[in-house]
């Protein structure tokens, strides 16, 4: 996913002269493509995520659309206040990019497990969360974000080089996208982010259900969810994130706010996952159903 991200960002930056990439000393052998093409719109700020995020706010206030690039929780939790005060409050076009959303860095342990990041970012009033499920959605959300510069979080998985969805030139915030294999069923699975890979690897569990993705969401998209969800009898949300304050919780809040008391099940990680050191596949086996 990260290579697709850099390749497409580099292509977009050829036309869009405002795109600026900051990296927090990660991305070796990946980000060089952008740096080589646009040395005047690239900086490695060093291992200093607080500074990186505030620098991004400063650059953005001068007209740049800045991407801050790091891994796991480093570009989010380490600099949460800079995201809140400097980026979100000033409503500046900064896209925080994290590689390794979920438990892609499973064996590296808790410090590298980004399983609370939705909870943090979805509290930011101006932020959009872009969580692509496959390579096509990486392209689609990037097209949207660069056409609509605003505070945003791009959560990229590792070990996910698949294409499950169809090409979407532009992704619409809050919209659910069906997989091509869907058959118009009323029982559906709604996945966000790289947990789509887990859904596809465990497709026998969902054999009588259609699969949808929701690659772009946030506080601003809550109101749209009632009309969309009304079409379906049952919904199972899937995420590689803790259940608490995650994607499924977001959808449930959205529907309750809108006055619908629809029952939704969520497949998400339990608190016990915070003590696991294992492969992504093994940790995701611990996902539980939350009613």
């Amino acid at each position: 996913m990260r290579r697709t991200f850099i390749n497409h960002l580099t292509e977009l930056a050829k036309e869009n002269k405002n795109i600026f990439l900051l990296v927090g000393d990660v991305g070796y052998n990946v980000v060089e493509k952008f740096e080589n093409h646009f040395p005047d719109r690239f900086l490695n700020v060093g291992v200093a995520e607080q500074n990186m995020t505030s620098i991004a706010a400063g650059l953005a206030s001068e007209g740049y659309h800045v991407f801050t690039y790091s891994i796991a929780n480093f570009p989010t939790f380490r600099c949460a206040e800079q995201i809140r005060n400097d980026v979100d409050y000033h409503n500046l076009p900064v896209t925080v990019v994290s590689v390794g959303g979920g438990v892609g860095y499973g064996s590296l342990g808790y410090s590298h497990h980004a399983i609370q990041d939705y909870g943090l970012i979805r509290m930011m009033p101006n932020f959009k969360i872009a969580s692509p499920g496959d390579l096509n959605e990486v392209i689609g959300v990037l097209n949207y974000l660069t056409s609509n510069p605003q505070p945003s979080y791009l959560r990229l998985g590792i070990n996910n080089e698949n294409k499950y969805t169809v090409n979407k030139k532009n992704i619409v915030p809050g919209k659910w996208y069906p997989l091509p294999s869907n058959k118009g069923r009323e029982d559906v699975v709604l996945s966000t982010g790289t947990s789509l890979k887990w859904v596809m690897n465990n497709i026998e569990r969902f054999k009588n259900k259609d699969i949808f993705t929701l690659p772009l969401w946030g506080i601003g998209e809550k109101k749209k969810q009632r009309a969309i969800s009304r079409k379906f009898s049952s919904i199972i949300t899937v995420e590689d994130h803790l259940y608490d304050c995650g994607f499924g919780s977001w959808l449930k809040e959205s529907l309750n706010i809108s006055g619908t008391n629809r029952s939704i099940q969520s497949l998400a990680l339990p608190i016990e996952a915070t003590n696991m050191v294992s492969s992504e596949e093994n940790i995701l086996k611990k996902m539980k159903i939350y009613n």
Partner: protein
């Protein structure tokens, strides 16, 4: 602008901020009084390139008050140099006002909201990089408090500014040597501050932060030197200008009562 005129402006601003803080029953009068003379040189002597009639002019310098708790001083200065009517200052700290008691970017002339310490200098680094990449000749000015220098994010920015030779960045440290609970020395000592900045690769100037000529000269020196970011260590007095508040830690939070207010007004209007 002569020293006599600038002193008169400083007194007006001290009187304005006293009224704002007294009326709103808010804090940080000592911190606000501490930076008035720095602000009147920057704005009153037009060291900063600004135009209140065109606040978003691309060819402008940018000022960030990182010690956002001294908002009253900045608002009073911005009103006095023409960004908005002085009547607006009466809204300070009141319900539903944009004039919140920590610096707000919703107030004309304010570039960035602050309040949580350690944000202004890193943002300024981004602005300084942007001005350089766009080949714009503008300067970025930041005022930090001395207690604020305990924030680690400042030191990330200090390293960064030096590494990238951000000579369009001028940091002024309001070194009144008192923070909210007591002295900087007893809380988390910062000395030798000048040596720290020199070793991080900055040019450093030390001045009396209430001497207009010294402040102005240091700012000229900052602009004249190339290749490094610049720091002015401004030795100031917390509560400067109101005798019974000077160098008293309690005036970080304390709000003047009516008799203290009257006494302060009398001192400032002598």
């Amino acid at each position: 602008m002569s020293d006599k005129v600038i002193k008169k402006l400083a007194n007006k601003i001290r009187l304005d901020l006293l009224k704002m803080i007294f009326n709103s029953k808010s804090s940080h009068i000592g911190s606000s009084l501490s930076i008035v003379d720095l602000l009147v040189v920057l704005y009153g002597k037009k060291i900063i390139k600004f135009n209140p009639n065109k606040p978003n002019l691309s060819d402008r310098d940018i000022f960030i008050l990182s010690k956002g708790h001294a908002a009253a001083a900045l608002y009073a200065v911005l009103a006095n140099v023409g960004y908005f009517s002085k009547k607006k200052l009466l809204e300070y700290g009141s319900n539903n006002s944009n004039f919140m008691a920590h610096v707000s970017h919703k107030v004309p002339g304010v570039e960035f909201s602050t309040g949580s310490l350690g944000h202004g200098l890193p943002i300024a680094c981004g602005l300084a990089v942007a001005k350089k990449r766009k080949k714009l000749p503008n300067y970025i000015y930041v005022i930090n408090s001395d207690g604020e220098m305990a924030e680690g994010s400042n030191w990330e920015a200090i390293l960064f500014a030096s590494h990238h030779k951000l000579d369009n960045l001028i940091l002024i440290i309001d070194y009144n040597k008192l923070q909210s609970f007591g002295s900087v020395e007893n809380t988390l000592g910062i000395e030798p501050m000048k040596d720290k900045f020199l070793s991080f690769g900055w040019n450093v100037y030390e001045v009396d932060g209430h001497n207009y000529n010294s402040i102005e000269q240091a700012l000229f020196n900052c602009k004249a030197s190339k290749g490094k970011p610049k720091c002015i260590i401004a030795n100031t007095l917390k509560g400067k200008g109101i005798s019974f508040m000077e160098n008293k830690v309690e005036w970080h939070y304390k709000n003047p009562n009516k008799s203290e207010f009257d006494l302060a007004v009398k001192e400032l209007t002598l």
